[in-house]
Symmetry: D2
Subunit: 429 residues, 4 copies
């Protein structure tokens, strides 16, 4: 493995912070011990946490109005993998990369080698039937897997099968299918027939799945369709995964729900009925804002992990959710956002591990709502920063990843190699 950030620089950065970390780690350890927790053991558990980086996430995102690229935008999947390598080198919580086809449709062996050289491997594959590609025969303007035209549907199925093929070649074992199919007008589609067509296509994709693969379907309330969406919520998503079979399960993106919806309850319900597949993490204030995880409502993120830890502890055998960040970085350096977001998700996980589940069950049984709430809040209030820092340090990462990254000047270095990209307008022009 060939470190992208100079090891000496990293050690130097860490050395500046390690004395204070020792102090804070000891104080936190003492406090946790009083609550019955072994901080070193928690540190090990935290170290095993991993969340995938989407390859497209390392590029600057945009809105329909505009996109404002930054310096050093990755040119292709190999640049993207390097950026992911930096992220993993510094924060040690992102060992996998999730590719998007056709954006990342390069030679599989080369991609695999590149990843390996960076200490990375591949997570779920992502298909794209929400855009038209230059060489594409049938347009997805009016839908893809649920299109009224059979040839268009066949093309979309074919594309998904091709994603599996590439995935097999690089060691992935899952396919995520998100479609934008829906409608913009009442009446535009027959909602029942559209679902039937979608299911028919997905059955063909499912049939092409290797036996050790998983298929993730993803629901979303709206956007890019603004009146109806074929997989609009977890209810439809569950029924689809149920129809497809045991290898299919549901992906939850935190920004894909109606306002005010209780997302942690959806997590609980999907797990209850055996169809919780995984997560696309991000945060949102209004819609699918794709903001940095934990930046808007960190307690909600904690409550999601409170469910996940509960499920993990009750059903350890079957518990295997796929975690990925899915964010749009419009005003930050994507590498910085992805590092700090991965840490926010890890933080929520560790805080959820601190919940006194015996006490919680007792308060629940006795309808002591105040103490039940307080049991969660106490875990959430715990500042686990020293624990997370130590976990990174133990694994060879950075105590403060963003500071180390800035000190290393990675962005300006790649900006010299990668040509500047002009700010393309969004979809409205």
């Amino acid at each position: 493995m060939n470190p992208l950030i100079d090891a000496a620089l990293l050690a130097d950065e860490n050395s500046k912070l390690s004395a204070d970390l020792d102090t804070d780690y000891a104080a936190l350890g003492e406090q946790l011990q009083r609550q019955g927790h072994d901080i070193d053991q928690l540190c090990n558990t935290a170290a095993q946490f991993g969340i995938a980086i989407p390859s497209w996430g390392v590029g600057t995102g945009g809105t329909r109005f505009a996109r404002f690229p930054g310096p050093g935008e990755p040119r292709h999947v190999f640049d993207k993998l390097e950026d992911c390598g930096v992220i993993q080198q510094l924060c040690r919580a992102t060992p996998k990369v999730s590719l998007h086809i056709p954006w990342d449709d390069e030679n599989p062996t080369e991609m695999k080698d590149k990843a390996q050289s960076l200490g990375l491997s591949f997570d779920a594959m992502n298909s794209n039937t929400f855009q038209d590609q230059p060489d594409q025969k049938h347009s997805y303007k009016y839908g893809s897997l649920s299109h009224t035209d059979a040839a268009t549907r066949a093309q979309a199925v074919e594309h998904n099968l091709r994603c599996i093929e590439i995935g097999e070649a690089i060691g992935s074992d899952a396919l995520t299918v998100w479609v934008g199919d829906g409608s913009n007008f009442p009446g535009q589609t027959h909602m029942g027939r559209q679902l039937d067509r979608y299911l028919d296509g997905m059955r063909q994709v499912y049939a092409g799945l290797p036996s050790h693969w998983r298929l993730f379907t993803e629901h979303k309330m709206y956007e890019p369709a603004f009146y109806s969406t074929v997989v609009q919520d977890w209810g439809s998503n569950y029924l689809i995964a149920k129809e497809l079979g045991p290898q299919a399960s549901c992906l939850v993106d935190l920004g894909h729900h109606a306002p005010n919806v209780n997302i942690e309850m959806i997590v609980s319900r999907l797990a209850h009925f055996g169809k919780l597949g995984g997560f696309h993490f991000n945060d949102s204030k209004y819609g699918d804002d794709d903001l940095d995880s934990g930046s808007i409502d960190p307690y909600r993120l904690f409550l999601v992990f409170n469910e996940l830890v509960d499920i993990e502890q009750r059903q350890p055998e079957s518990f295997n959710p796929a975690y990925m960040l899915d964010q749009s970085h419009n005003v930050t350096d994507p590498i910085e956002s992805l590092m700090s977001s991965a840490l926010e998700v890890q933080r929520a996980y560790v805080q959820a591990l601190l919940v006194d589940r015996e006490a919680l069950a007792f308060h629940q049984e006795n309808n002591d709502a105040l103490m039940a709430s307080e049991t969660l809040k106490r875990a959430f209030r715990t500042n686990v920063e020293p624990l997370l820092q130590r976990a990174r340090q133990n694994m060879g990462g950075a105590i403060n990843p963003v500071a180390a990254y800035r000190e290393a000047g990675y962005r300006s270095k790649v900006a010299k190699l990668r040509p500047a990209v002009s700010g393309a307008g969004g979809g409205i022009v």
Copy 2:
């Protein structure tokens, strides 16, 4: 049958309006004929439409802040039945009454006789485990069918079985179960275990169902629980009905969803998977506002019926949804609101019958979104008022029910018999 509004007065009222109605009916008939519709046939179809009145709906509603009763509030189920009798006499679209136990727990034979004398019969029974009754052993403060305490759950099951018993005695054939169970704090309940307890109780209720009965479960996002609700959305509702068995299906209340949710799509999904049980109709702007049907968003009501008519025409054998109004009349005479709301629902149904489904399917197949939308809008724009008036007139009802009701002075008559009720404060005092 003993008409509550004097037949001569009614005839007199109708006679004032019948000449204009003739003119408008003829003009509409001519216009519909050009579109391939026979107005007389539509008139007959409209006449067969029926929607149940909830017994509690004839009393003035309230909020947690206050309740402002009007004159002549019904004292008991017999007064309520009389009010329902007036509604049905004048608008001829509300032949059934839905009772609520224990509010209407009177002698079944007397209730049945009273209803019969008014030309009414009974729709689904409604149980109440969201309030404590004076003689009740266990409190529902922390839940009912999903309570952590087994005795409380047993009491709730018992109450539902009692509702079936009363229903059997009066000729009902369905039970609607809505519970307020949920939580007000993250952590207050274990969401998975709470659902298990709920399902366990419901299985006992289901087991007590006569073979020709149906069981309706109803989802609601929030209120009275403000953090989580055990049957929070159609996804949970579907899974519950599925677990229970073929006699169970889902009730959709138009005000029980998250903001912006596409309700007509939920109707389509539930029908698609065989679990659409029926509706509680009302309108809402913010939450479960329980406003008069069609008063806020009449096009949404039409779109719901557009789905219903589509389902009815494609699956006529299995199509049998239960329709009920479920509104809170805080600032109107409840009888007037129920009459005009029943007519709004009937209007949406008749407008949906006017949709040119062949053209719609053609536009959908060809992705002609504009013409598909226009096909729906054209039906919705049709002013079917003369058709609805004629349907009522044909059945002996009032051309203008509210005007006839006011002219008859029913409210002031019953106000003399029924003592004034003082404005009780809402829940907050």
Copy 3:
């Protein structure tokens, strides 16, 4: 004026429909007469209604995910003006075009001549400081008029002044300023200082306004900024217009509000405090969906016009709102959508004219909520289609604009002249 659709074809199309229109117009006239309305007079009033077309609206829109252009996309402002000419020729309710700078920054005299030749004139100018242009010195990535950098702010002011200059040259008399300035993270901006900077810049723009010009500021809750937006709602918008002076007033876009917000009430409030400037019409189900006007909630559109007609009748001297369509046409032919949307807005206006305002005031005074609601519903239920058709016919337009447009084959004709555009990806790539 040089008609773009052949006059003979148009006459032929109209002749097919005119007999039925005569019948329906007579029936409607008779019905309206009974309610005290003169249909011919209403027809004249309808004919005077005008709503501007945004030049960019005639191109296919898109989302951040993708854009799917159709055949014959306009290449430049002259193509756009031709498309607007067709719209106006057929529907006779869209005499003005609203330009966007720099997208339409061509020779003013040529633009003016072209417009004149098509029977068009120019509405408000629209500035663009939410995108970076190739030749631009300072980026708007972090804001424009409210940017922390003085030079960037000056550039944005300068651009707005340039828009006024162009507008003066083509006979416009208003400037609409919409900015995307805001933030994506709590803490990213100091919300008070950001507003101060915005106000400071806007004061400079205001100072450059000719004395007969108006300045419209537009609020929007979110997008492209996803945590905070500098002009987030009508409250901020009002205060800004108030600070700026009498030539400034507020623009209301129907899709720019929080879920469930009562938009007609905002219209009432802005008019009440003298700052209602105008509208960007469209429809929405979730956010700023920019769907076709009246396609999702036609009653809401009617309720907006119910306020407007009320204001118009009470304050006729000062009433002068600017109306524009602002929609994104992703799945329809933009010309068709703009024609039918203009007619939907006109329809709502005419229906609002039918409200019996004397009766309404009486019911309001007497708290007869049911009859007040019914008074509005009666007007809304009136199918004014024959009236709108006759108004168009009288002015030389098409009885059925979409049918005439399709018959004329305009789109395929221009598709031969205008090169095909490939589907550019949205902002996320």
Copy 4:
């Protein structure tokens, strides 16, 4: 002052916790020192924080469906004051009580003496024109200060003046006016005229204000009116306060906004334009849920205080917001909820004091969104529990108020004196 919780018991409870507190306080102090904060000084600042308790908050709340009282419900204002006395004795952050008329309309001298004996004083008075009282001449069913009937409006004005009179007698210096006036149907009220009537009435109330008093107006999107509300949002609220004069300002209740609204931005705007009066604190997931402060979204509460501390530091002379808890305790002991909620608000305040405002301003100026966000998150992540505990301990309160309260058995003691209340139904019966 006569302590309600035995001083020896309290000392005993504190002594159990003080050793661990010493350790944690020292560790936190060391950590804060590194960041440039003096923990003892922060402790003093925290000790000066006060938030009022609403007298009605100590009783169990309810919904329109039901109310489930607990044991020992306060019978009258004197019981309520005792409960408030316990709260203040233990948590030392709630020195004032806010009365509600007519619920608390008892002899002023006796109330004042009682309060004094408990170490309490009085905050803002609250009027009630949203319910009808037994002896009331005119009903508020259709509105109060904005009613179409002049006599009803006069009665509402009179009631508010009476509240001022009582307030003067007990040492209050502010009046909070919240009305439920609005409408349930489009058309029910003329929104402009309704506002005029409201303003006219409020001007009379304002005129009756002693010169040292303040008048707080409160906006709310909906409930109990479900179509429109006369003071629906901060925009209307601002304009009303502006019309009334310098003694009037706006109250922000965290649960009174549309979904997704950025409340901290409203705080910023109201302060910017000089009309931020104060807060009704609570938390909400769906609507005006009146849940415990900080129980659903603690980061939002922090962001509100981040604005408040910023305003306080920039405009210390004019900064004087009124803080009150306004919650409905349906499933907890109200005393426990009020204590823990007061501490949550205090916690958010202290965390906001930790924000490095110099660094924040630097990051804002440089558009370093990630570091700006991180600056806020770092303060929020700090576990200030030891600081809050020490502040209470220093003032003679409880280190752990809920534990001390439970140990003291206060609830069971008062349950012996105060008769059990049966669970009255909510407004719907």
